[in-house]
C-alpha cells in the first residue's frame, strides 16, 4: 500500500512541478498548492554493519520522499491545511502527515486543530523538508528516529513583538496512537495527555528555542506484559514493575543559533526521560558551524548522545532452585538484549544552492561507538569496530 501511494504522490508531484511557480503554485488567492521533495543517496563505507539502513552499497530509498501541501483560506481568519507525504523508506508510513484547521483571531494569535507535526526539537516539524536546514541529514544522536512525527490535538501560538526582540510561545495538547520502532522492536504505542510548551526568542542575530514535552505512553508488548504478570504472581514485584510498558515520557530541549551573512553557529541539546522499559534515558547534543560563500556554504558538525536504561531489579534469588535460576536468567536476558545506542558523529559537508528552491548537499560523517554497544549500527559481523564513514548526497527541492 505505501508503495502504491508513493507512486501516486510521485505522479501528482511531477504533474504539479511541470506547471508550478518555482516557490509555490497559486491556483487562486484562496487555494494554494506547494510541496517539497528530497532524493538522498547514501553509502556506508563498511561491510560489517548498517547505519540507519545504509550499507556498503549505494541506496536511494532510505530517506527520499515527496510531500504535497494544500492550503485553503475559507475565511479571513479560518483556513484548512493538508499535507500528504510519500516516503521511499520502509521505516516511515506514507499518507496524511497533516490535516488541521487554523483559526487566527488576531495577527499574533493562532490556533490549530487537527493532525499536526510534533514540535519536539528545533527541526522536528520540518525533518522531512531537507531544504529547510543546511545538513544532508539531521544527526541521529540528537534526532532519534523513534520519535513519532505527528499528533492529533490543539496547538496555540502567540507572538510577542517588541522593539528589541520577538518572542513566540506555543502550547499544545493532544494524543498519539500508531506503530513505533523502539530498541529495534516494532510496537503499537499510545500517548495520552500529551502536551508541551515551546518558546522562541529572536534577538539580533540570535535565535533561541527552549521546550518541554510530556505524555503518558503505553506500548503493546504482549510477551513482556505476560512475563511481568508471571513475576507479579510469584511475588517478585520489583522485577515485575521494572518491566512496565506504561509510563511518563518527558523531553527537554534547548537550542541556540547565531547567524550572519557570512557564517552560522548552531547548537542543540535535549534530554529524553522515560520511566518504562525499552525507552532509555537519553542525553544528546550537536554543534555545527558553517561558512557561507554564496551559492555555497560549508559546515562542520559534532554530535553525541548517551543512553541509559533502568538497572534490572534483584529480587529474584538465584542458586536456590533451577526454576528460579531460569526465571532470573530470562528476566536479565530482556535487559541484556536492549541495544545501547550511545555514539558520536563528526560531519563535514557542503550545500550548493543551485537556484531558489533547489539545493544540492554532500556530506561525510564519521560515526563512532563503544566496542560493546550498538551505537545505532545494525551489526552484521561481531568483529565490527563500531566505526564507519557515511557518505550522503541529497537533492532538496521546494516548490
Amino acid at each position: 500500500m505505501p508503495w502504491r501511494l508513493w507512486n501516486f504522490v510521485l505522479v501528482c508531484g511531477l504533474a504539479l512541478l511541470c506547471n508550478a511557480h518555482p516557490i509555490y503554485a497559486e491556483t487562486s488567492d484562496k487555494l494554494q498548492f506547494s510541496g517539497f521533495a528530497r532524493v538522498v543517496l547514501g553509502y556506508l563505507d563498511d561491510k560489517d554493519a548498517e547505519y540507519l539502513n545504509y550499507d556498503n552499497s549505494v541506496s536511494i530509498d532510505n530517506e527520499s520522499l515527496i510531500g504535497l501541501q494544500a492550503d485553503y483560506q475559507m475565511m479571513d481568519s479560518l483556513a484548512i491545511t493538508g499535507q500528504l507525504i510519500g516516503h521511499s523508506g520502509e521505516q516511515r508510513d506514507s499518507g496524511i502527515e497533516w490535516l488541521y484547521l487554523t483559526y487566527a483571531p488576531t495577527n499574533t494569535l493562532k490556533l490549530k486543530l487537527g493532525r499536526q507535526r510534533t514540535p519536539f526539537l528545533n527541526y522536528s516539524d520540518v525533518i522531512d523538508v531537507g531544504y529547510a536546514y543546511p545538513w544532508a541529514t539531521l544527526p541521529q544522536q540528537t534526532y532519534p528516529r523513534h520519535f513519532f512525527s505527528n499528533f492529533d490535538g490543539l496547538m496555540a501560538s502567540y507572538e510577542i513583538p517588541s522593539t528589541l526582540f520577538v518572542m513566540n510561545i506555543e502550547g499544545y495538547w493532544g494524543y498519539f496512537k500508531d506503530k513505533v520502532v523502539v530498541s529495534e522492536r516494532e510496537m503499537e504505542a499510545k500517548t495520552t495527555g500529551f502536551h508541551g510548551l515551546i518558546s522562541h526568542i529572536s534577538f539580533k542575530n540570535w535565535t533561541l528555542r527552549g521546550s518541554y514535552h510530556q505524555g503518558t505512553t503505553s506500548v503493546t508488548l504482549d510477551d513482556v506484559t505476560q512475563f511481568s504478570g508471571l513475576l507479579n504472581q510469584l511475588g517478585f514485584s520489583q522485577s515485575a514493575d521494572s518491566l512496565a510498558t506504561t509510563g511518563v515520557t518527558e523531553v527537554f530541549q534547548f537550542s541556540a543559533n547565531y547567524e550572519t551573512v557570512d557564517y552560522f553557529v548552531r547548537g542543540e541539546l535535549n534530554r529524553i526521560k522515560a520511566d518504562f522499559i525499552f525507552v532509555p534515558d537519553t542525553d544528546g547534543y550537536f554543534l555545527s558551524t558553517g561558512y557561507n560563500y554564496f551559492p555555497f556554504s560549508s559546515y562542520i558538525s559534532y554530535s553525541k548522545n548517551t543512553t541509559d536504561y533502568e538497572e534490572p531489579a534483584s529480587d529474584i534469588p538465584t542458586g536456590l532452585s533451577p526454576i528460579l535460576d531460569g526465571l532470573s536468567y530470562n528476566y536479565l536476558n530482556i535487559f541484556e538484549q536492549l541495544p545501547v545506542n550511545s555514539s558520536e558523529a563528526y560531519t563535514l559537508g557542503t550545500r550548493w544552492d543551485i537556484q531558489p528552491g533547489l539545493a544540492l548537499k554532500g556530506e561525510v560523517s564519521l560515526i563512532k561507538g563503544a566496542d560493546n554497544e550498538s551505537a545505532f549500527f545494525d551489526i552484521k559481523n561481531t568483529a565490527f569496530d563500531r566505526e564507519a564513514l557515511l557518505y550522503l548526497i541529497a537533492l532538496e527541492w521546494v516548490f
Partner: protein, 136 residues
C-alpha cells in the same frame, strides 16, 4: 597627488554607498511612522508589528533584494529561502507576496493600503507614500 587619490576613493565610496541606499516605503495615513532596522527585519520575516502592515518583496535575483537582504535582514538569499520553507511547511507564517520589479512595487504600494516594500533610495516617490526606514 595622494590627496587626489584619497579624494577619489572617498568620492567613489560615497557614490557607491548612495547607490546602495535602500528605503522602506509604506502606504499609510500615519506620516510620522519611523521603524528601526530590527522592526523592518521582523516585518519582512513575517512578524506582525501592530501597524497592520503587509510586506511585499522583489524576486530573489533582483539586485535591490540582494542589497536589502545583506543590509537589513542580515542573511543570504539561500538562508532566507530555507527560513520560508520552514515557516511555510510548519504552518507558522506566510511568504510575502513577490512583485516582479521596482516599478511594479511602486504601483502595488500605491494601490494597496498597508502595503510595505523596499526600493532603491534614488527612486523618486509619489507624495502619497511614506518612507518609514532608510539605510545608506
Amino acid at each position: 597627488m595622494l590627496l587626489i587619490i584619497v579624494a577619489f576613493i572617498s568620492l567613489s565610496g560615497r557614490i557607491c554607498f548612495a547607490n546602495n541606499a535602500i528605503t522602506v516605503v509604506a502606504n499609510t495615513q500615519d506620516r510620522g511612522i519611523l521603524l528601526s532596522r530590527h522592526e523592518v527585519r521582523n516585518l519582512f520575516m513575517g512578524t506582525p508589528l501592530g501597524y497592520d502592515f503587509i510586506a511585499i518583496t522583489l524576486p530573489p535575483e533582483n539586485q535591490t533584494r540582494v542589497i536589502f537582504n545583506t543590509k537589513v535582514i542580515g542573511l543570504t538569499e539561500s538562508r532566507i529561502q530555507s527560513y520560508w520553507a520552514q515557516m511555510r511547511f510548519t504552518g507558522r507564517k506566510k511568504v510575502p507576496r513577490e512583485v516582479a520589479s521596482e516599478q511594479l512595487v511602486l504601483e502595488y504600494l500605491q494601490n494597496n493600503k498597508g502595503a510595505v516594500g523596499y526600493l532603491p533610495a534614488s527612486l523618486t516617490l509619489p507624495d502619497d507614500l511614506t518612507v518609514i526606514y532608510t539605510i545608506l
